[in-house]
């Protein structure tokens, strides 16, 4: 009799855990049609061939302004962008630490704009950067480092405890992507083809203190050390976006930091004409982020430097990689066409203009 | 014993106090009745039933109550 009781008890525990897992997957936001940036981080783990020459880490400055497909097509460099919305520097550090569990890239490119934020901004951004990671010690450390006061660490270990209240917001999307998610980015690049020419920008405001926060410098040191320990070349990068304003005082600090740590620092804002960016056609939100044509130009520029500085081999002849990247390139161009078609039909991209789409009830 | 029965009947004429032996448990006597009984007993027998003697054993039946009064009488 005792044995039977234990077995039935074990079955109960199993049932509870599977049910909890199923409900968690159902209730967690899917980020497939709304706020797609949320799905970027988890997409990396679906990648079959986790072996890239270059890994990008950072916020929208990387996942909107560079296209790994162009890097491959022009220079045979394999790359992946591990970006997420409002990715703060400690997010970047832990995401890099997590990525190194799967692969050892030759070069890591880090977008330095996130140095301007020295405290977590919004709970939603924390969730989008952290929930995508599989449960691991890195994820727990990352959550601890980024949590706002009202957040609990356990809700990152069991996200069901955070998203349980979505039960009355479940939509068709939640059921459709319950188990299988669609790919929304190309090796981390979020494509947008629409255009919105840049106008003027408000004059930059005077800051009380231009020095970056100490916590930012701590984590920058940690990233430098992590790369050194793994024999990876770290590149500091300022993407060519015109807003938020990149103060000279900030630039000076990064230049100084790069010299002290013998790192390559590229401020693409100083090479706009060399890149050939035209902010009336190459941006989709008046200069904040580049669109597809802008991203391809900036990738071409960056690829040349990376290849020269770190003599990255041109792997376009590699049969194995060719097959993999052919598939990625086809998907890339297919999405490009679809987006152009959508642009002609509606005049804007549905996925990125939810409110307008709902108003014209096309969603 | 008669005076005691008179007091009890005054409160609940419908109850036959001679035989009934669970006045408290059946919630026939509530806290008001108990207080009035104590006041009456103090008046008639000149004996003050202390608060900690207010227990179901002492108040469940008229006989038990009478025993209590006797005990308190020869104590002081």
């Amino acid at each position: 009799m005792k044995k039977k009781k234990i077995i039935s008890f074990v079955i109960l525990i199993l049932v509870v855990f599977t049910l909890a897992w199923l409900l968690q997957k159902l209730l967690m936001p899917k980020y497939m049609t709304k706020i797609v940036e949320g799905a970027l981080i988890s997409e990396y783990y679906e990648e079959k061939n986790k072996d890239h020459d270059v890994i990008f880490i950072g916020d929208c400055e990387v996942y909107e302004n560079f296209s790994p497909i162009t890097l491959w097509e022009k220079y045979g460099i394999t790359s992946y962008i591990r970006g997420s919305a409002q990715q703060l520097i400690w997010h970047s550090y832990y995401i890099l630490e997590d990525t190194l569990k799967y692969e050892k890239p030759d070069v890591v490119v880090f977008s330095v704009l996130s140095m301007m934020y020295d405290k977590p901004q919004k709970e939603a951004y924390n969730r989008m950067s952290i929930d995508g990671l599989p449960l691991s010690l890195t994820k727990i450390k990352m959550a601890k480092a980024s949590m706002l006061p009202e957040e609990d660490l356990i809700t990152y270990i069991f996200p069901l405890l955070r998203f349980h209240s979505r039960w009355n917001e479940l939509s068709e999307e939640d059921f459709k992507y319950w188990f299988k998610k669609e790919q929304i980015a190309h090796n981390g690049y979020l494509m947008r083809v629409d255009v919105k020419p840049a106008g003027s920008f408000p004059k930059p405001r005077k800051l009380a203190d231009y020095r970056f926060g100490d916590i930012c410098y701590d984590y920058l040191d940690k990233i430098v050390k992590l790369c050194k320990d793994n024999g990876i070349k770290l590149v500091l990068l300022k993407a060519p976006s015109l807003y938020p304003h990149w103060y000279e005082e900030w630039d000076a600090q990064i230049v100084d930091y790069a010299q002290k740590n013998d790192l390559l620092y590229i401020n693409m804002l100083d090479h706009l004409d060399e890149i050939g960016l035209d902010y009336s056609t190459d941006t989709y939100d008046a200069g904040l982020h580049l669109n597809l044509s802008g991203a391809e130009k900036s990738s071409a520029f960056l690829g040349k430097i990376l290849q020269k500085e770190f003599n990255l081999a041109d792997k376009r002849q590699d049969k194995y990689l060719q097959a993999i990247w052919q598939e990625k390139t086809d998907a890339y161009y297919k999405m490009k066409e679809d987006q152009y078609k959508e642009l002609e039909e509606y005049g804007y991209l549905l996925k990125f203009n939810l409110k307008k789409a709902q108003e014209d009830n096309r969603q | 014993m008669e005076t005691l029965l008179e007091i009890l009947e005054g409160l609940h004429p419908e109850i036959d106090f001679e035989t009934h032996d669970s006045l408290i448990d059946d919630k026939i006597l509530d806290s008001f009745d108990i207080v009035t009984i104590i006041a009456e007993v103090n008046d008639q027998y000149g004996v003050a039933i202390p608060a900690h003697e207010i227990t179901p054993e002492n108040f469940n039946s008229a006989s038990a109550l009478y025993e209590l009064i006797q005990r308190l009488m020869d104590e002081d």
Partner: protein
């Protein structure tokens, strides 16, 4: 024996009274916790009392956190306009540039009403109603606004209810004046 215990109790109660009053977080409402307080009583902010720091641009009083629509209509067509959606979430930050100052507004992602978050002077064409503008000296500022400011680097900030008025100096001359909404 009795006196000993009595003495101990008395001394303890004196100690108690001492630690009682200086102990940690203050009970928000001085009055009682109640048997059945309906809990989480965030009292609705009393009618938004106006902060004494507001920008007056020829007759239009611009308060922080105020509804943007009437102010924008009053100020008329801005010289320049700039809009920046926050990274992924649907909120919207906007900047309207007028003659000599920029007006910053924000639109919440859920309730869609646009409110004013800050006003920044860039030239001496405009000044605060107390008469301070670009180029004013540190002494003028202190004489007009007093000295209970908080200093952070080169920025001197005066705070009142939901607004702070801050001046940035370069070699003790004002180079920027701004009214900012304090976000809690």
């Amino acid at each position: 024996m009795k006196i000993k215990i009595f003495a101990i109790l008395m001394s303890v109660s004196i100690l108690l009274a001492g630690c009682g009053s200086n102990s940690g977080n203050v009970n928000p409402s001085p009055a009682e916790p109640a048997e059945t307080t309906p809990v989480g009583q965030e009292t609705k902010p009393a009618a938004e009392e106006k902060s004494k720091y507001y920008f007056d641009y020829n007759g239009t009083a611009i308060y922080m956190n105020a509804d943007a629509k009437p102010v924008l209509d009053a100020l008329g067509e801005p010289m320049e306009f700039f809009e920046s959606p926050s990274c992924a979430i649907q909120g919207m930050d906007r900047t309207y540039s007028y003659n000599g100052f920029d007006l910053y507004t924000r639109e919440d992602e859920n309730d869609e009403n646009e409110y004013i978050v800050s006003v920044v002077f860039m030239s001496d064409v405009v000044e605060t109603k107390e008469g301070i503008t670009i180029g004013s000296k540190l002494e003028d500022v202190i004489s007009k606004y007093g000295d209970n400011y908080t200093k952070e680097g080169e920025r001197y900030t005066y705070t009142d209810t939901n607004t702070n008025l801050s001046f940035v100096f370069e070699n003790s001359e004002v180079v920027e004046v701004s009214y900012n909404l304090i976000e809690n």
